[in-house]
């Protein structure tokens, strides 16, 4: 544990800030339709929030909040949500990703708006999951056994 990680002030501030960061990221994702932002930016910010947590509280601690399994489901799930929306359009007799054919809302534009949000959420899920897992993988291992895992596995 470094000095920064031990600093009670920083730990407290981070703990307080993280909900706001996550909330902001959700706002960015949902706000993509009418202003700057979208799945990407939101996903990255969400990921950054978790990464911040992991930096201060340690990766092991962060993994308790968002486990590898959850990560994997989020990453795959986001994409399946996106692609599934496209496939749904096919099922309703349209082209892939043709939102207009899905009889979700009275007007095509409105349906498209809803589905664009769905798609953005899908992107957000994948991006946040991947960003987190990238950080977990790239940052230095914390325990001794993790250090030398490669020799045993291969």
């Amino acid at each position: 544990m470094s000095d920064i990680q031990q600093s009670i002030i920083i730990r407290t501030i981070v703990r307080i800030m993280i909900p706001f960061i996550l909330l902001f990221s959700l706002y960015v994702i949902m706000h993509g339709a009418s202003g700057p932002g979208g799945g990407f930016q939101g996903g990255v910010i969400f990921g950054a929030g978790i990464i911040l947590y992991a930096m201060i509280y340690g990766i092991e601690e962060a993994k308790k909040k968002i486990s590898d399994k959850a990560n994997r489901i989020l990453a795959s799930g986001g994409l399946v949500l996106y692609a599934g929306t496209g496939l749904l359009a096919i099922l309703f007799g349209g082209m892939f990703l043709e939102y207009g054919v899905i009889p979700l809302m009275p007007t095509t534009a409105y349906t498209a708006k809803i589905l664009i949000d769905v798609v953005e959420i899908g992107i957000g899920m994948t991006v946040l999951a991947v960003m987190i897992s990238l950080f977990f993988d790239i940052s230095p291992p914390e325990t001794e056994e993790d250090m030398h895992i490669h020799e045993e596995v291969e």
Partner: protein, 81 residues
């Protein structure tokens, strides 16, 4: 549009880029790269590409830098050139 500001920012970009590839301390280089991305984001806002600027700020200046620093923590911090 204020072209003086524009040019100043763009010149900063060049300075940052040159610094990022010449500085031998890799951590500094990465931080300068982050600054480069941030300036780039500002340039883009100035060019009215807000979405892109937002992304660049979050991805280029944020996540990329974090990944670089994490990678540096596992390797070595100095470069021969």
């Amino acid at each position: 549009m204020i072209w003086i500001l524009d040019i100043t920012l763009l010149l900063f970009l060049v300075i940052c880029a040159v610094a990022a590839i010449t500085i031998k301390d890799l951590l500094s280089a990465v931080v300068i790269l982050s600054a480069y991305s941030l300036i780039m984001a500002i340039v883009w806002v100035e060019m009215r590409a807000v979405d892109v600027a937002f992304t660049e700020a979050a991805v280029g200046a944020g996540i990329t830098t974090v990944l670089f620093i994490a990678a540096l923590a596992r390797t070595e911090g100095r470069s021969e050139d």
